[in-house]
């Protein structure tokens, strides 16, 4: 016993080093597996608060480009409204607003990141605004990511620029689907893999969400096909997709809640 204690005292620096190094490796491995980073994330009052107060100042710097994006979005919605065939009737009630399948929240990005292999964003809405894990996040131009952790006032978002991210996507004009991943190279190109060889892929085709995962509704834009090739086994296409979103300039986002997600997951789990 004496000898063991002596050994510990003699090598206490080395043992402390080993312990701390081991703890950090455990955190690292956790962060590399999807939806496991429970302890170390920026959705807490300290880091969230600091990012929020800094963002309050720095948002003025991008005011012009953000206004531009919002006015383009307005423009698009106006043209939809004026060209729609429904004439507005005073007895018509918009049923979407109170019992639609999807509920939309707005939020602001307070920490953006696109230069590392596993990018995680921070937004200024949390459980207080009934934001929970697995809600989808989009911008006016396309898909952004999926909510990971939420604290009271802040949530982290797994960006599509994250090597563990995996979103179901399909070609717009046919229903051939695959999964959208990122290889970590360029912040405006993602990869669509596992698309069947018989799918008629062409350069310039639009890629949209498939609606199979019940996180995103169908037909949210993602990007266009840049180039494609068959994988090593020559069964599936690997497609490079150029994103519609400029991931380096993000501010206003929409969060999508699927009200039936519990029912769907229960049904899937019961089988």
């Amino acid at each position: 016993m004496q000898q063991i204690i002596n050994f510990i005292i003699r090598n206490k620096t080395f043992l402390l080093f080993l312990l701390l190094f081991f703890i950090s490796i455990v955190f690292t491995i956790q962060s590399h597996s999807y939806h496991k980073s429970k302890f170390i994330n920026s959705a807490n009052f300290l880091t969230g608060g600091i990012y929020n107060s800094v963002n309050n100042i720095s948002e003025y710097l991008s005011l012009k480009s953000q206004n531009q994006i919002l006015s383009e979005e307005n423009n698009r919605l106006k043209s939809l409204l004026f060209n729609s065939e429904n004439t507005i009737d005073s007895t018509y009630t918009d049923s979407i607003t109170f019992n639609g399948l999807y509920k939309i929240y707005t939020a602001k990005i307070i920490k953006n990141s696109y230069s590392v292999a596993d990018n995680i964003l921070l937004i200024n809405k949390g459980t207080k605004d009934s934001i929970k894990e697995d809600f989808g996040v989009i911008t006016s131009k396309g898909v952004l990511g999926i909510i990971d952790n939420s604290s009271n006032n802040y949530s982290t978002v797994i960006s599509i620029l994250n090597t563990t991210s995996n979103i179901s996507a399909q070609l717009k004009n046919t229903n051939h689907f695959g999964s959208l991943t990122w290889n970590g190279d360029s912040p405006n190109i993602v990869q669509l893999t596992d698309v069947e060889k018989i799918a008629p892929v062409k350069e310039g085709d639009t890629i949209v969400t498939s609606g199979l995962s019940s996180i995103f509704p169908k037909d949210i834009h993602i990007g266009v096909v840049k180039d494609f090739k068959l994988d090593i086994a020559e069964n599936y296409y690997e497609i490079n997709v150029v994103l519609f979103n400029d991931m380096t300039n993000l501010e206003h986002v929409h969060i999508i809640e699927n009200r039936d997600i519990e029912e769907i997951t229960n049904l899937l789990n019961s089988n």
């Binding site: 402390l16 950090s24 955190f27 491995i29 956790q30 880091t47 600091i50 230069s115 360029s186």
Partner: protein, 168 residues
């Protein structure tokens, strides 16, 4: 003694804030960011309590990880260079270090540059291997290490020159 503690606490806070609010948004050429916060570990007094020093480095790395949502990669890299620092010090400064009365203001510039370079490169290799976490992408790891190290070393040397007090 008191002034050393307060100096290092202030340095800790300032470097963390500089790192997460400024240095991680530079994205030079798309992905090159300097990691200037390791100046805290580089400039920590040589005469110290080693356990405390390793614990402080772990805390520094963990706070950076908390801000950047990066798991434990910064903590691991910081703990590693904090533990191996005596070896690197001995290699870079030789006799001066062994006399145990070394001050960073008084040693010559060449040795200091060697010391900063070795510390930075070791830190970055561990950081980026853990970040990318895949042997098949070793080229990407080395590329990121090289560019970020150059950037970090230049910034660290500049900061040391700017903030060094005139030695009497």
């Amino acid at each position: 003694m008191n002034s050393i503690i307060s100096l290092n606490s202030v340095r800790f806070l300032v470097l963390v804030l500089t790192q997460v609010l400024i240095c991680n948004h530079i994205n030079f050429l798309g992905y090159v960011n300097p990691n200037v916060y390791i100046l805290f570990i580089i400039l920590f007094p040589v005469k110290n309590n080693r356990s405390l020093f390793i614990l402080m480095s772990f805390l520094l790395g963990l706070i950076i990880d908390l801000f950047l949502d990066s798991g434990g990669i910064h903590a691991a890299a910081c703990v590693f260079i904090a533990y191996t620092r005596p070896i690197i010090l001995k290699f870079s400064f030789g006799m001066v270090y062994e006399h145990q009365n070394m001050k960073f203001n008084t040693v010559d510039f060449g040795a200091k540059l060697t010391y900063i370079t070795i510390m930075t490169v070791v830190h970055h290799i561990i950081l980026y291997s853990l970040e990318i976490f895949s042997i098949s992408k070793i080229i990407l790891v080395l590329q990121k290490t090289l560019f970020s190290s150059i950037f970090t070393i230049i910034l660290c040397v500049l900061l040391i020159i700017i903030f060094s007090r005139k030695s009497k």
